[in-house]
C-alpha cells in the first residue's frame, strides 16, 4: 500500500510530523515501511503557464514558438517541440533556473535561432511514470485543466510536493489496505484523533432505486452482502486534478471521473466498488451466482476468460456482467457515452475470490482486498461516499434508496456499523504473557489510542474491537496490540523459570558429526547440493526401489522437477564444475537425504534416506616439487573409507565385487556390515563407468554412496580395554597361487575359519601376476601372526595347523603354495 502523506493529513493532524520519522515509528510498531519517496525528487522551479499564442517556428517544421503567461508582468517566449501544444492551453512551465529529474537544469537558450525562456514539460519530464499516463499524455506536453491557477507552483498543483510511504503489509494487517485503516494506525501511534470523511447525499426522491433494479443472491453463491445505488445523468470526463494526483501517488492510473471515484473510495475505505453502465444491464436485475462450467466472459481488460463452477459472477439475470470481486466485464463498462450507472458495493467471500483470481491469474486492487475480507460495516458507507462524490464530480443525480441483500441474517447484523466483537482479557494474562508489569491505567491508555472501547471489571477487561480490525479475534490478538503499542523495546529481558533440562545430541547426531568431522580431517571437502534435480541426470543411476522417482506436481523448471534418489549425480556435477576451472583434484562428500517413491505415493510420504556420498578424482595429494602427482586408484579410495570406518568403530565389514549401473563393472564393491546376527548393506563404492567418465569429461573418478543409518547402527562409541599380549607371536608367511576369480577376502575368511583360534592377524603383503603362473592365475602372499593370549605357542603346533590349513585351502580353492 502506497500512502500519500498529504492524503493522510485529511484524517490525522500531521503538523510538525516528519514523514521519515513517522515511517520509522510505523516500522517499529508493526508495519514495515519500505520506503519514503518524495514525488518531486530532483524537481524545482515549475509553474503553471497559459499558452497565449502559438506560432510555427520560422526555421523548423517540428518546433513551435509560444508566448506563455506565467502570471508575471511579461509573457515568456518558449520554443516547444511537442505536436500537441496549442494556444489556450494551461501547461507546466520549467522556468529558467528550474531543475528536472536527472539534474537537468533549464537555461536560457536559442533553438534554431529563436530564443526560448524555459520549457513546456511533459508529464514524464515531471517524473510521473509512464504507466500512469494516458496515450496523449505520453506523446506530448501535459495539458492541465482550464481552471489550473496560472502562475502558481505546478508541483503543488500536481501533488508532486507530496511524499509517499510504501507500507509492506503482513497478511493480517489488511485493514491498512485503506487510508481509513492507515489513519487509525497512525493516529494510535501519534496518540491523535481520526477525522473521517463527512458524507452527505442529496437523494432524488422522485424515483426509487428499488423500482428500477432487483438484487438477488442465488442460494449458495458466496456473496455475503450486495448493495447498489443508481446514479443518473452522470457526465463522464476526467476527474479533478487532486483526485488524479492521489490515485497516481497510490499507484493507480486515472481513467475517468466515474472509474476514478470508485478507485478513490477503494483506496480510502478499502472497499472495492464497481460501476456498471446501467443502460447496458439489459434485464433490470442483478443476480449473484456461481459461473457455469465453461462459461465465457470478457473482462474489462479485453481478455476472454473461461470460467468454472467454483467462480462467482454478477449477472444481469442472464449473462455474466462481472467476475465477482475480481474484475468487471467489458460489455457493461462505463465509457464517455455512459450517463447512468449502477454502483455496486458488495462483500464477497475471500476464499472464493482468492481461488478465482489464482485460477485465472488475474489479480486486481479489488481481489487483493476481498481475499483478505473487507470490513462488513464499510460496504454501505463506501457506497454512499462514492455516490456523494459522483454527485459532486460527475454531476450525477443519486436516485433514492439503496438496493441490497444479504446472504443471511448474520451478515445483515455485521453490516451494522455498531457491531463490534467483544473480547475478554485480564491484566494478569497480559502481564504473564509478556513478562511485563502493566497497570490497568497503562493498559487503558493503549485501548484508547487504538480507539477500542473497553470496560474494566475488577482486573478483567471487556474490549470492543471495531469491525475494521478483522485480525483481532482472540485475547492473544489484544495482547499483541498491547505489546506493540507499549513497545517491544520496553518488554524486559528474563530467563525461563521452569524445570532445568539437560541438552544433548543424540547418539545418531554425534556419530554423524564424527563422520563428517573425520572426513574433513582426512582431507575431504563437504559440499551441499540441491535435492531437486532433472530426470535426465538421475537416469544414469537408476533408482533401486521399484516405485520410481518422486516428481513435483508443478515444477518451476525441468532442471528442478524431481527429487534425487542418489547423491552421486550432483557430486559428479560439482566435480565437473571444478574441473572446468582447472581444479583437477576433487575430493568431496555430502551427507544428505535421497527420496524414494513409495507404493502409495498419493498418501504416503516418500521414503527419505540419509546417505553419505563421496567422490574422488585426480591425484592422491596436491602436486609437489619432489615428484610427479600420482593418480588415485580404487585402493586409495577404499583406504579412505577403511580409515573412516575404523574411526567410527565399524567392524566385520564385508567387501564383495558388485555390479551397479553407472559403475565400472570390474572395480565396484558392495560393502556390508555385520550388525548383531544380521548383515546390512552399507552401500556401493567403485569407479565410475568409463562411458560415464567420457561423457562427463572426467579422468578416473571414484564414487561411493553409503547409508548413514546403517553406519550409525553399526558404529560403536566407547572403548573396552583389551589386555596387551604377554606371550610372543609366531609369524608365518605363505604365497598362494590362486585363480583370479577367487577373492582375497574369501581366502582370508576361510583361513580364519580354519585357524581362527590361533591366528591373531592375517595380512596380504604381495599380489603378483605373471604369465608363468598360468592364465588367470595370480600369486597372493599372506602374512599370518599366530598367538594365543594364555601361553607361548610352539613351533610344532603352529606348523601343524598352518600346513593343515594350506592343504584345506588347496582342496577348497585349488590354492597351491608357491615355491
Amino acid at each position: 500500500m502506497n500512502v500519500s502523506f498529504q492524503w493522510l493529513q485529511d484524517y490525522v493532524d500531521l503538523n510538525g510530523v516528519d514523514p521519515k520519522e513517522l515511517a520509522e515509528k510505523i516500522t517499529r510498531s508493526g508495519i514495515e515501511v519500505d520506503s519514503v519517496k518524495a514525488r518531486s525528487e530532483g524537481i524545482s522551479g515549475v509553474v503553471i503557464g497559459h499558452v497565449v499564442e502559438r506560432e510555427k517556428h520560422p526555421d523548423a517544421d517540428k518546433l513551435s514558438v509560444t508566448k506563455v503567461d506565467v502570471g508575471g508582468p511579461e509573457l515568456l517566449q518558449i520554443v516547444c517541440g511537442a505536436s500537441n501544444v496549442a494556444a489556450g492551453q494551461n501547461v507546466p512551465i520549467a522556468m529558467i533556473g528550474a531543475v528536472l529529474p536527472g539534474d537537468f537544469k533549464i537555461k536560457k537558450s536559442k533553438l534554431r535561432g529563436v530564443e526560448s525562456q524555459g520549457m513546456i514539460c511533459s508529464a514524464n519530464e515531471l517524473g510521473i511514470p509512464e504507466k500512469f499516463l494516458s496515450k496523449t499524455q505520453k506523446e506530448g506536453i501535459l495539458v492541465l485543466p482550464a481552471d489550473a491557477p496560472i502562475g502558481s507552483d505546478a508541483l503543488e498543483y500536481l501533488g508532486l510536493n507530496d511524499q509517499v510511504l510504501e507500507f509492506d503489509l503482513t497478511p493480517n494487517r489488511s485493514d491498512c489496505l485503506s487510508m481509513w485503516g492507515c489513519a487509525f494506525e497512525v493516529a494510535a501511534l501519534l496518540e491523535k484523533p481520526v477525522k473521517l470523511p463527512h458524507v452527505v447525499i442529496h437523494e432524488d426522491t422522485t424515483e426509487r432505486a428499488s423500482d428500477l433494479i432487483q438484487v438477488s443472491i442465488e442460494d449458495a453463491a458466496p456473496c455475503l452482502h450486495y448493495s447498489a445505488r443508481i446514479i443518473r445523468d452522470v457526465v463522464v470526463k476526467p476527474s479533478p486534478q487532486w483526485m488524479q494526483n492521489r490515485l497516481v501517488a497510490a499507484g493507480i492510473r486515472p481513467i475517468s471521473n466515474v472509474v476514478d471515484i470508485t478507485n478513490y473510495v477503494l483506496l480510502e475505505y478499502g472497499q472495492p466498488l464497481h460501476a456498471f453502465d446501467l443502460s447496458k444491464l439489459k434485464h433490470g436485475e442483478i443476480n449473484v451466482r456461481y459461473a457455469r462450467s465453461g462459461e465465457a466472459f470478457v473482462t474489462l481488460d479485453g481478455v476472454t476468460r473461461e470460467l468454472d463452477e467454483s467462480m462467482m459472477v454478477i449477472s444481469d439475470g442472464f449473462d455474466a456482467v462481472a467476475l465477482g470481486g475480481v474484475m468487471g466485464g467489458q460489455d457493461t463498462e462505463v465509457n464517455e457515452s455512459t450517463n447512468q450507472i449502477l454502483l455496486e458495493s458488495a462483500r464477497f467471500d475471500g476464499g472464493t475470490v482468492r481461488l478465482t483470481s489464482k485460477k485465472l491469474g488475474l489479480r486486481s486492487e479489488s481481489s487483493v482486498r476481498f481475499e483478505k475480507e473487507v470490513d462488513p460495516a464499510r460496504v454501505r458507507l463506501a457506497l454512499d461516499r462514492a455516490a456523494a462524490l459522483l454527485a459532486q464530480y460527475a454531476g450525477g443525480r443519486v436516485i433514492s434508496g439503496v438496493v441490497e441483500t444479504f446472504k443471511d441474517e448474520n451478515d445483515r447484523v455485521l453490516a451494522d456499523v455498531d457491531s463490534a466483537r467483544r473480547i475478554h482479557i485480564s491484566n494478569e494474562k497480559i502481564n504473564l504473557t509478556l513478562g511485563t508489569n502493566l497497570s490497568s491505567d497503562e493498559i487503558a491508555v493503549i485501548w484508547s489510542r487504538l480507539q477500542f472501547k473497553a470496560e474494566l471489571h475488577g482486573e478483567h477487561w471487556e474490549v470492543c474491537v471495531p469491525s475494521r480490525r478483522n485480525d483481532i479475534r482472540l485475547a492473544i490478538d489484544l495482547i499483541e496490540e498491547v505489546a506493540r503499542l507499549y513497545g517491544y523495546d520496553r518488554i524486559p529481558t528474563s530467563f525461563i523459570v521452569g524445570k532445568t533440562t539437560t541438552g544433548a545430541l543424540t547418539n545418531e547426531q554425534i556419530i554423524r558429526r564424527r563422520l563428517r568431522g573425520q572426513l574433513a580431517a582426512q582431507g575431504w571437502h563437504e559440499v551441499l547440493t540441491y535435492s531437486l534435480t532433472e530426470p535426465k541426470t538421475m537416469q544414469a543411476f537408476p533408482v533401486a526401489g521399484k516405485h520410481g522417482v518422486v516428481t513435483l506436481a508443478m515444477p518451476m523448471s525441468e532442471e528442478r522437477s524431481v527429487l534425487r534418489h542418489s547423491i552421486i549425480p550432483a557430486l559428479i556435477e560439482a566435480a565437473q564444475y571444478n574441473r572446468n576451472r582447472q581444479l583437477d583434484d576433487v575430493r568431496i562428500f555430502e551427507v544428505g537425504h535421497v527420496f524414494l517413491g513409495t507404493e502409495n505415493a498419493n498418501n504416503a510420504l516418500p521414503n527419505e534416506q540419509l546417505m553419505l556420498g563421496l567422490l574422488w578424482t585426480g591425484s592422491k595429494s596436491p602436486r609437489h616439487w619432489s615428484g610427479k602427482p600420482q593418480a588415485i586408484d580404487f585402493f586409495d579410495f577404499k583406504g579412505q573409507l577403511e580409515t573412516l570406518f575404523e574411526k567410527l568403530g565399524l567392524t566385520g565389514l564385508i567387501w564383495e565385487s558388485s555390479v551397479r549401473e553407472g559403475f565400472h563393472p570390474g572395480r565396484t564393491a558392495q560393502v556390508s556390515v555385520k550388525i548383531g546376527e544380521g548383515v546390512d548393506v552399507l552401500g556401493t563404492i567403485g569407479q565410475l563407468h568409463p562411458d560415464q567418465q567420457r561423457a562427463m569429461d572426467l579422468s578416473d573418478t571414484y564414487v561411493a554412496e553409503l547409508s548413514v543409518s546403517v553406519v550409525v547402527e553399526a558404529a560403536r562409541r566407547g572403548v573396552q580395554f583389551q589386555a596387551l599380549p604377554k606371550y610372543p607371536a609366531i609369524s608365518r608367511d605363505m604365497a598362494l597361487v590362486l585363480d583370479r576369480s577367487v577373492s582375497v577376502d574369501t581366502v582370508i575368511r576361510e583361513t580364519k575359519a580354519l585357524v581362527g583360534d590361533l591366528v591373531e592377524s592375517i595380512r596380504v603383503f604381495d599380489v603378483y601376476e605373471d604369465e608363468k603362473l598360468g592364465r588367470d592365475k595370480r600369486s597372493v602372499a599372506f602374512s599370518l601372526l599366530y598367538r594365543v593370549p594364555e601361553r607361548t605357542l610352539t613351533d610344532e603346533e603352529v606348523s601343524q595347523r598352518h600346513f593343515g590349513m594350506v592343504e584345506k585351502l588347496n582342496e577348497r580353492f585349488g590354492a597351491v603354495l608357491r615355491a
Binding site: 513478562g435 521452569g498 545430541l505 531437486l532 518451476m556 527429487l563 560439482a574
Partner: protein, 344 residues
C-alpha cells in the same frame, strides 16, 4: 721387554702422526692392538718373566695400551668430527621449500554454522530435533494455524508433490511433530535445523532450497521476556558479548505476538555501514509467542501452557558472519570457496 714395550709405544705414536683417514687409523689399531697385533705378540712372553717383574711389566703394558688407545680415540674423534661436518655440508636442504602437506578438508560453512548454533542451544538445555523434508500439508501448514486457502500461505509459495504432500517450506513441522510426540508433556525445548524449499528463482539473495534453524520452548509461564532473554544470550554467544537485539512487531501465522529480531550489525558494531544500510542493525530472526491455536492443535491447553518459537536462515547468518555476497556460492561447491573455511 720393557724396552720393546716403550719402543712399540713410540713407533705406534709416530705412525699415528701420519694417519690421514679412518681406514689407516684402523690399520694402525689392528697392527698394534689387534688380536694378532704387536702388543699381543710382546705380551705372549709374559710367562717367562719372574714373579717380581710380572706386575711391573704388566703395569707398563697397560700404560702403553692406554697411551695408544688414547691417541687412537683422539684421532677417531677428529675423524668423526670431520665426517659429521662433511655430511652436514652435504645434507643441507632449502627449508623454505613447501612441505608435503596432505589436503586439508573442510566442513561446509552452512553446516558449520548449524553446528555452532546447535552447540549454543544444547548448552542452554535444548535437544536437536529433526524431521522429514517432504511433509504433509497438515504439519507444514494446517497445524501451524495456516488452514487451506489462508492468504498467509502466499508468503511461502511451495513445491507440492500431491495435494497433501509437499516439500516443507520451513522447519516448523518438526516442532509440530515433536509436540505431538510429547503428548502434552513439558518442558519442550528443541532446536530444529534442516533444509527447506520455496518457489523462488535462484539469484544472489534467493535460493529455492535453503537452510533454517528453528527453536521451540513450551512450558508453564513462558513469557515474551524469556524469549528476549534467550535470544539475547544466543546472539551474544554467536556474534560476541557486545551484541544487542531489537524486536519489531511482525506477523507469522503460528506465533502471536510475533517479532522480527534485529541484532547489532556485526560488521560495524552498530555504527552504520553498507551491510546494514547505515542502520546499525541486521534482521536475522523471526520469533514470537506460540499461537494458542498451534498449542491447542498439538495437544497443549493454551490456558495452562505458553511457549515461544524463533527461526533463522542459516545462509543469512553465514553470509553476514563470513561476508559472503551471493547465496549461490553455498550450493555451487567451488573448491576455492570451500577451502576458505578450513580455519574457521
Amino acid at each position: 721387554m720393557k724396552e720393546r714395550l716403550v719402543s712399540l709405544q713410540n713407533a705406534a705414536l709416530a705412525e699415528l702422526e701420519d694417519v690421514a683417514n679412518p681406514q689407516e687409523l684402523n690399520e694402525v689399531r689392528v697392527q698394534y692392538l689387534g688380536k694378532k697385533g704387536a702388543l699381543t705378540e710382546i705380551l705372549r712372553g709374559m710367562g717367562q718373566l719372574s714373579a717380581e717383574e710380572r706386575p711391573v711389566i704388566g703395569q707398563l703394558a697397560n700404560d702403553v695400551r692406554a697411551a695408544i688407545e688414547g691417541a687412537l680415540a683422539e684421532l677417531q674423534t677428529k675423524f668423526d668430527a670431520e665426517e659429521t661436518n662433511r655430511r652436514l655440508a652435504q645434507e643441507k636442504i632449502d627449508v623454505t621449500l613447501a612441505g608435503r602437506a596432505p589436503e586439508t578438508g573442510t566442513l561446509h560453512p552452512l553446516n558449520w554454522v548449524i553446528q555452532q548454533v546447535e552447540d549454543i542451544f544444547v548448552g542452554m538445555g535444548y535437544i536437536v530435533a529433526e524431521g522429514p523434508e517432504v511433509e504433509r500439508d497438515y504439519y507444514n501448514f494446517e497445524a501451524l494455524n495456516l488452514p487451506k486457502n489462508h492468504p498467509a500461505r502466499d508468503m511461502q509459495d511451495s513445491f507440492y508433490i500431491t495435494d497433501e504432500i509437499l516439500l516443507r517450506t520451513h522447519t516448523s513441522p518438526v516442532q509440530v511433530r515433536t509436540m505431538e510426540k510429547m503428548h502434552g508433556e513439558v518442558p519442550v525445548k528443541i532446536i530444529c535445523p534442516g533444509k527447506v524449499y520455496r518457489r523462488d528463482n535462484d539469484d544472489a539473495t534467493h535460493s529455492h532450497m535453503f537452510t533454517q534453524i528453528e527453536g521451540l520452548v513450551i512450558d508453564k509461564n513462558v513469557r515474551m521476556s524469556d524469549l528476549k532473554g534467550t535470544l539475547l544470550q544466543f546472539v551474544q554467544e554467536m556474534f560476541g558479548p557486545e551484541t544487542q537485539i531489537r524486536l519489531r512487531p511482525s506477523f507469522f501465522p503460528f506465533t502471536e505476538p510475533s517479532a522480527e529480531v534485529d541484532v547489532t550489525c556485526c560488521m560495524c558494531k552498530g555504527n552504520g555501514c553498507r551491510v546494514c544500510k547505515q542502520s546499525g542493525w541486521l534482521e536475522i530472526l523471526g520469533s514470537g509467542m506460540v499461537h494458542p491455536r498451534v498449542l491447542e492443535m498439538a495437544g497443549y491447553d493454551p490456558n495452562e501452557y505458553t511457549g515461544f518459537a524463533f527461526g533463522m536462515g542459516v545462509e543469512r547468518i553465514a553470509m553476514l558472519k563470513y561476508g559472503v555476497d551471493d547465496i549461490r556460492h553455498f550450493y555451487t561447491n567451488d573448491l576455492r570457496f570451500l577451502r576458505q573455511f578450513a580455519h574457521d
